[in-house]
């Protein structure tokens, strides 16, 4: 189990009603975060996950010091 800080942006922050939280997950990978988001906030797979400022598209191993951000669809321009 690891303890990790997760940042929320855009619609994700709205749905979570917070911009950041510390969560405990069983597995040290991004899929475990997505599972938590689905369970807790009903967030489905349309969210993007960034690990240390890089998007990851498949389950990626993470450490507690990584910067994890959950992003809704990009809508610049």
């Amino acid at each position: 189990m690891i303890r990790i800080t997760v940042k929320y942006y855009g619609e994700v922050a709205e749905k979570a009603q917070k911009e950041e939280e510390i969560i405990n997950i069983e597995e040290s990978n991004t899929q475990a975060i997505l599972d938590y988001l689905k369970q807790t906030y009903g967030l489905a797979q349309e969210v993007k996950v960034a690990v240390n400022l890089e998007l990851v598209t498949s389950a990626t191993t993470i450490e507690s010091t990584d910067e994890i951000a959950i992003l809704s669809q990009f809508a610049g321009g």
Partner: protein
């Protein structure tokens, strides 16, 4: 990158100052500018009155720096500037300003188009479309 994010709308005066700054660059022959303006789109019975932009700043800056390097190499530009609004931008106001300059005109149109598409796809910016009815929806790029 200076002033990458601008609080609120990007004003025509800001654009004019940016253009004027290039008049000392005597090898530039062609400028191309893209401006994105907030439309009063209808969504069902609602009409957009503004978009409230936010971003994941550290990642957005990193993506912009990478985009800048790629675009300079790809299109042989003399100058390139990108500015995006953060916060509320009302209908009719400008929220993105892309400005490229080169000795000759050939590549400038493609360069601007490329940069705009990359910003929309790769830069973590989020837009909340605010309706007159005080409800909202999250903007989806097409």
């Amino acid at each position: 990158m200076k002033n990458l994010f601008i609080k609120g709308a990007i004003s025509p005066e800001f654009i004019a100052i940016s253009i004027a700054k290039h008049q000392s660059k005597k090898t530039i022959g062609a400028h191309n500018i893209f401006l994105g303006q907030v439309r009063a789109d209808m969504v069902g019975e609602n009409t957009v009155k503004a978009i409230e932009f936010s971003c994941y700043q550290e990642m957005a800056e990193k993506e912009m720096v990478a985009l800048r390097e790629t675009a300079f190499k790809k299109f042989n530009l003399t100058c390139m500037h990108i500015h995006h609004s953060i916060g509320e931008v009302k209908v009719g106001e400008i929220c993105i300003f892309v400005f490229v300059s080169a000795p000759h005109r050939k590549n400038v149109y493609k360069a601007t188009e490329y940069i705009v598409e990359q910003v929309k796809t790769n830069v973590p910016l989020f837009g909340k479309e605010l309706f007159y009815s005080n409800t909202h929806q999250w903007k989806q790029n097409k």
